[in-house]
């Protein structure tokens, strides 16, 4: 276990506490304080990753530990960039614990050294990994927003106006924010897949090899494509869009973890213990 990660995790954990305080007490100071804590955690996180990158000369995404650590960093970055741009105060309430959870998981997963493979380097791979992770971070936020939408919709339909009804924003805002996340995430995911194809073509000479990870990435991509298409054409909004965003995220999680544990393929090493 690498104890240098602890200050970062501690910052994220404290931020989660701050957002919980905001949820219960509804005081702006908790909201701002928690944001500052995520920012502090992100800065230390960036320094650690930067040192790692300088050391290895490539993105540190060679095993599950490194992957989780990197995903946590991307999610924190995406959160920090998007939070001031959207009026969803409640976003931090699920984003901060999620970041904490991922980084804490990275802390407990052993950092098994991998045989460095010469082919796993180069600018296309860096772009591929970074862009895919940014997309996944956006889609995680979309899933969280979807869950909040379902809670709030339930409150209004069932005429329950207690705790969450008062604290959650309007359905319209949750819906449009979720849509923004899905649109951004889908764009990044598409770009990530394309860079992946290019990279695969360079290394293996094929764009597509029916590798399980590729297939499941395709499935995930299709779910989100369907969501966006139906929204534009048939007006799939609200509940349906929220449920689909959650299903899409579940598919994405399976692509990320499940494929590596259950199926074989050339992405295996990245998520092995």
């Amino acid at each position: 276990m690498n104890y240098t990660l602890l200050p970062v995790i501690f910052c994220y954990l404290a931020a989660s506490g701050g957002y919980a305080g905001f949820l219960f007490l509804q005081r702006g100071i908790y909201n701002r304080g928690a944001y500052a804590l995520v920012l502090a955690g992100f800065i230390i996180h960036s320094v650690l990753l930067g040192m790692d990158y300088a050391d290895k000369g490539s993105l540190p995404v060679h095993n599950l530990h490194q992957n989780l650590w990197f995903v946590g960093w991307v999610l924190a970055g995406v959160f920090l960039v998007l939070r001031p741009r959207i009026r969803l105060n409640i976003l931090g309430v699920f984003a901060a614990p999620l970041i904490t959870l991922i980084t804490a998981a990275a802390f407990f997963v052993p950092d098994t050294p991998m045989q460095p493979q010469s082919e796993l380097a180069g600018v296309w791979l860096t772009v591929h990994v970074l862009v895919i992770f940014i997309g996944e971070a956006c889609l995680a936020l979309a899933c969280g927003t979807g869950i909040l939408y379902l809670i709030q919709e339930r409150n209004i339909k069932a005429k329950k106006h207690r705790f969450f009804f008062r604290r959650l924003p309007s359905l319209e805002l949750l819906d449009s924010t979720g849509y923004t996340f899905v649109a951004a995430g889908f764009t990044a995911l598409t770009a990530g897949l394309i860079t992946g194809f290019i990279y695969a073509h360079q290394v293996w000479g094929h764009f597509w090899t029916w590798d399980p990870k590729e297939v499941w990435s395709g499935v995930t991509w299709l779910i989100y494509a369907a969501l966006l298409h139906e929204r534009l054409v048939a007006g799939w909004r609200g509940r349906r869009a929220a449920i689909l965003a959650i299903i899409g995220f579940a598919a994405m999680l399976f692509t990320f973890f499940g494929v590596n544990f259950l199926l074989e393929g050339h992405h295996n090493e990245f998520t092995r213990w």
């Binding site: 709030q152 319209e172 007006g235 799939w236």
Partner: protein, 444 residues
């Protein structure tokens, strides 16, 4: 140093004991103490308030006066050197000007004096004493009443300070407690719900089905936040619909066009006298597809209901009937009441502070403080001067100290005499307040 106390004793020997300060008092009736017919009967119109203030402030037993009259209360706030006499005068005036027998309202009328009166006013201004606790109108009504009193020179130092204090207390309670946070009227609750569904309401289209007072209120509430959205009115009697549409600058439609209008409307407010459902599930379902699933919010204030409750089961359609809205209000009421304990604490605190200020208006403490301040200045200046004069003997120093004391005594002689008796019919508290201000004496 015994000048103020000494001369006060002298005064007491010579004059009949008069209170140093006018007493603050409030006399009134409200929705809990009197039935509506009596409240109606005692209410003051703006013009009547003006006349009453003009007339009563000329009476020697009333120093300051102000009248608050709303549909739920009539309160007369006054200061007086002889509060018992003032209360008698006020009651007699009410009886005479309203042509009611005094015994009719004797039971319902309450009187508070001093800190009880202060607290009562604070509670009224912060809407703790209102029929609907936390309702925001009362503060505005008191502000208007205060303006009327000021325009007619009914108020002086004490009431001015008291009223400004009550405004700031009310404001503090509003911002620090949740007392006014939640909707407690049907129409306001409906608007709050619409906000939770649509977020922004500016461009939302409204369809009004049937005409009724409550529906109109809801539209009025909505119109405060809407600007560009369309408004449709459907009524069984087309002419009535046209009239309403004109009033809210909307469009009148036929009853048969409702289904079609559902495509473009976002908020439907229904209050017809129909015994059947006016809008049924099978009418709404196809519309949702045409609306591209944009949400529809039905507010059903009719009894019996106009909108099939099954419509609520359609995705993105929300139906609230009168009982649902009533439920929202009851929940909100409960939370308001629990917030009022916090508000009472703020009021107690403010009343204590106001009392301290009020006590300081007394002549004796003011003169003491003034004398103290002068003595302090004289002492410190003397010390500074003595530092560079080592050659003075202790007798010399004593002489200088005596000189200082004499200067202070002579200097204060006239102001003190004036403050103790500024002349008959003059408001002593005004001059004391002025003295405190120009010499910057702290309200401790």
């Amino acid at each position: 140093m015994n000048l103020p106390d000494g001369s006060r004793q002298e005064e007491k020997k010579n004059n009949p004991p008069a209170p140093e300060l006018p007493e603050i008092g409030i006399l009134g009736i409200n929705h809990t103490s009197a039935p509506v017919d009596l409240r109606e009967c005692l209410a003051f119109s703006d013009q009547e308030s003006r006349e009453t203030i003009q007339r009563l402030k000329a009476r020697p037993e009333i120093s300051e006066i102000m009248i608050i009259s709303t549909c739920n209360r009539v309160e007369i706030l006054f200061t007086s050197y002889d509060p018992d006499e003032a209360v008698r005068t006020l009651k007699a005036h009410i009886a005479e000007s309203r042509s009611v027998q005094e015994h009719r309202f004797e039971e319902s009328i309450y009187t508070h004096l001093r800190s009880e009166a202060v607290k009562h006013l604070f509670r009224v201004a912060s809407s703790l004493d209102s029929m609907v606790v936390g309702e925001p109108q009362i503060l505005g009504q008191i502000k208007t009443a205060y303006k009327t009193a000021v325009e007619n020179r009914g108020t002086g130092v004490i009431l001015n300070r008291l009223l400004h204090k009550s405004f700031s207390v009310a404001k503090r309670i509003r911002s620090e407690t949740g007392i006014g946070d939640r909707a407690v009227s049907i129409s306001y609750a409906a608007v709050e719900l619409a906000r939770k569904i649509f977020g922004r309401l500016e461009d939302k289209a409204v369809l009004l089905v049937g005409a009724g007072e409550m529906a109109e209120l809801a539209v009025e509430h909505l119109n405060r936040v809407r600007s560009t959205g369309a408004l449709f009115v459907a009524n069984r009697t087309f002419e009535v619909g046209v009239e309403m549409a004109r009033r809210f600058s909307g469009t009148a439609i036929n009853f048969g066009e409702i289904e079609d209008t559902l495509k473009s409307a976002d908020i439907i407010i229904s209050s017809t006298g129909s015994y059947d459902y006016v809008i049924k599930k099978k009418q709404v379902r196809p519309v949702m597809r045409q609306r591209k699933q944009k949400p529809l919010f039905f507010i059903d204030i009719a009894v019996p209901r106009d909108i099939d409750p099954a419509v609520n089961r359609i995705e993105n359609a929300y139906v609230y009937d009168i009982d649902d809205l009533q439920g929202v209000i009851e929940e909100n009421m409960e939370s308001r009441l629990s917030e009022s304990a916090k508000a009472e604490r703020i009021i107690d605190e403010a009343a204590v502070r106001f009392d301290q200020w009020y006590e300081s208006l007394d002549v004796v403490p003011t003169i003491k403080q003034l004398r103290g301040k002068l003595a302090e200045i004289a002492d410190s200046e003397l010390k500074k001067t003595l530092q560079s004069m080592d050659h003075l003997s202790s007798q010399d120093i004593e002489a200088l100290e005596r000189m200082n004391e004499a200067v202070i005594k002579k200097f204060l002689h006239d102001p003190v005499r004036f403050l103790k008796d500024p002349g008959s019919h003059r408001d002593k508290s005004l001059y004391i307040d002025l003295t405190r201000k120009i010499f910057k004496l702290e309200d401790d």
